[in-house]
């Protein structure tokens, strides 16, 4: 939920990275963290298991700069991708302003992508959101691996509403900022729409 503070002239928005387990959601945040200037980012928090699997969420506050005199800050979250963490995953969606779905391009993860996308739609609905109305970007990750599904096939299977689609290799940063920029843009344009602009 966007928080507009007229007193401190700040706007905070919440973006959630969703998708199947081991798909690269945390890697997206890690790359953003590693490539952002120190003054523009806060601490990257990872609530993970001993084997570095996300247990509850990762969190990265990002200061993008000033729009019309208001400091614009994005709070990036990931959810745990593993199926059995659904109760925790649902909680992170509370107050979301924009979504990124990080799909795993490997052929054997196709079912996991589809299942996760259904899960996203269902969990959003339980919070009173409709995926069709939420700012949303689809990222096709792991494009450098050998056993991948073609982009067109993957988009055909996962695309829901003409959302922007980006190919990515998150561990090398390919497509990571394009994805973030696209979802941030939608969030801000949505704010404009809601302001009557």
């Amino acid at each position: 939920m966007t928080f507009i503070n007229y007193a401190s002239r700040e706007i905070n928005c919440k973006i959630v990275y969703y998708g199947p387990g081991l798909g690269g959601k945390t890697t997206n945040l890690q790359y953003i963290y590693d490539s952002t200037a120190a003054q523009a980012k806060g601490k990257l928090i990872s609530l993970a298991t001993e084997t570095d699997r996300t247990l509850f969420f990762d969190f990265l506050p990002l200061d993008l700069g000033t729009v019309r005199g208001f400091k614009t800050r994005f709070h990036l979250y990931t959810v745990p991708g593993q199926v059995f963490y659904d109760a925790s995953r649902k909680l992170i969606l509370k107050g979301v302003d924009g979504m990124v779905f990080v799909a795993d391009s490997q052929r054997e993860r196709m079912d996991a992508n589809v299942e996760s996308l259904f899960n996203l739609e269902s969990n959003l609905k339980q919070h009173g959101y409709d995926l069709m109305k939420v700012p949303y970007v689809l990222q096709l990750n792991k494009r450098d691996l050998p056993n991948i599904v073609s982009s067109s096939e993957l988009s055909g299977e996962l695309r829901r509403k003409g959302e922007p689609v980006f190919e990515a290799v998150a561990n090398r940063g390919v497509g990571v900022f394009d994805t973030l920029k696209a979802v941030a843009k939608q969030v801000l344009l949505e704010l404009r729409k809601n302001s009557g602009g």
Partner: protein, 163 residues
């Protein structure tokens, strides 16, 4: 997408006043307000190097997880949470059904005193949040724009953020 949460200058100052008084009355080290989705609203206290952004997000996660636990056992929620550490303690409570009040205190205070002072401050802050809601509703009914900085934002403004 849900309606943005708005904080006006006047109410912000009132809230700042309320948490400043609470901090002093409860002999606390730090008091802050965060909304349920993890956005920090206001803070006051002596812990100057505290990472309040992280604290806000983890507090919201903590409250959300505890609410989830409550629902599993048929409770509506646990309105007060308390964490006791070796030196510092955290008292967490819910205000106006949607805002989280966090008080950090050490041996100079006590859980009893914090609970007592939080109770009094809660009534005061409930009234302030009620006043914000009333103001938003009134403006909405009258069709008055909230003077949003985004009403005239351009795509160039947005692109500039990423350069």
């Amino acid at each position: 997408m849900s309606t943005p949460v708005v904080m006006y200058e006047q109410e912000y100052e009132q809230l700042k006043g309320a948490i400043t008084r609470l901090c002093a009355d409860a002999n606390a080290k730090f008091v802050f307000l965060v909304d349920r989705s993890g956005q920090q609203i206001a803070s006051h206290g002596e812990m100057i190097n505290l990472d309040t952004t992280s604290l806000a997000s983890l507090t919201a996660g903590n409250v959300a997880a505890t609410d989830g636990l409550a629902h599993l056992i048929g409770e509506r929620g646990f309105p007060v949470l308390s964490h006791e550490g070796e030196r510092d303690n955290i008292h967490i409570s819910i205000i106006a059904a949607r805002v989280i009040l966090v008080v950090i205190f050490d041996g100079r205070s006590s859980l009893g005193l914090v609970r007592l002072r939080v109770k009094r401050a809660t009534a005061e802050m409930n009234a302030i949040f009620h006043s914000i809601d009333t103001k938003i509703e009134r403006e909405r009914d009258l069709g008055i724009s909230l003077d949003s900085p985004f009403a005239e934002i351009t795509e160039e403004d947005i692109d500039a953020l990423f350069n």
